[in-house]
Amino acid sequence: MMEPSDSKLVQLAQLLCQTQDHEIDCTVFLQSVAAFIEAGGDAAAEAGSLAEQLELVRQHMEVCPPCKEEFEALVRACEQD
């Protein structure tokens, strides 16, 4: 079986340190990231359940590099001309 290299274990260790008991998955992230961007990427700027949801969006990017990459591309896509 493929054994992870040290560099992959470094990557995994970073993910483990960011892992939370409750996380949203990539489907929920996709449905929520637009609201996160329009809040300026600042969950604390919102109140109540929206703030909680935005914090989950932020945390998801800590453990999901592909979604983080998509967020960064979305920021570029939404830049004003």
């Binding site: 483990l16 609201a35 998509e70 591309a73």
Partner: protein
């Protein structure tokens, strides 16, 4: 036809919902998404103008199919653009990955027994870090289910999510649960092996600086 004035969310939805689809508005959406995708990916050498056209068209179809899932907590256009970016990346990642399968990666089929347990250590790396890495390798081998282990290692290898889904024949939600449960188990395993989060962070920082 260019979009001259911003539409409200209700105006977009009213024009796009089935039974009353306004083709002119669909064209506006496609052009809007194409402009955004060009800003996101226009500098990439592996993305052509034709690719952007295709991404925009595919994205419009996905957006039209998911209108019911729009929650209204953002502008409709931002939500649609998120779907467009996701659509484009799915295509690009699949193209980049090619047709490599689990077996070509050296991953066990999920139903098979556990691995050989051979460890691959870097002798130049410090001993404390190697202790943690050895504990991680042991935990991956012994504490995860075969499907959790396969999903985790495939993800670490950079296999696109759609490719993993195809191999495991599962749903996106179930796949994420495999990853999440695997990470939680590994975190517990490291703690039980005597490595705190602080130990792991220090080991990782040391490796990152080398």
């Amino acid at each position: 036809m260019a979009v001259t004035a911003p539409r409200t969310n209700d105006q977009w939805l009213g024009a796009l919902q089935s039974g009353s689809v306004d083709e002119g508005v669909v064209a506006d959406l496609r052009e809007y998404l194409k402009r955004g995708l060009a800003k996101a990916f226009g500098s990439r050498r592996d993305v052509s103008a034709s690719d952007l056209d295709d991404f925009a068209q595919d994205s419009v179809m996905r957006v039209l199919g998911q209108l019911d899932s729009f929650r209204g907590d953002s502008r409709f256009t931002t939500w649609a653009m998120a779907i467009a970016v996701n659509t484009a990346y799915a295509v690009m990642r699949k193209k980049s990955w090619g047709s490599r399968t689990f077996s070509e990666l050296g991953l066990d089929a999920p139903e098979s027994a556990s691995a050989t347990g051979q460890e691959v250590a870097d002798p130049s790396s410090n001993a404390a870090r190697q202790d943690i890495f050895s504990a991680m390798r042991r935990a991956i081998e012994t504490d995860l289910t075969p499907r959790q282990r396969t999903a985790l290692l495939a993800e670490l290898a950079g296999m696109p999510a759609q490719s993993i889904l195809d191999e495991l024949q599962t749903t996106p939600g179930a796949l994420y649960k495999l990853y999440h449960d695997a990470r939680k188990k590994l975190r517990v395993s490291l703690e039980q092996a005597g490595f705190s989060a602080k130990d792991v962070i220090e080991a990782v920082e040391g490796a990152s600086k080398e």
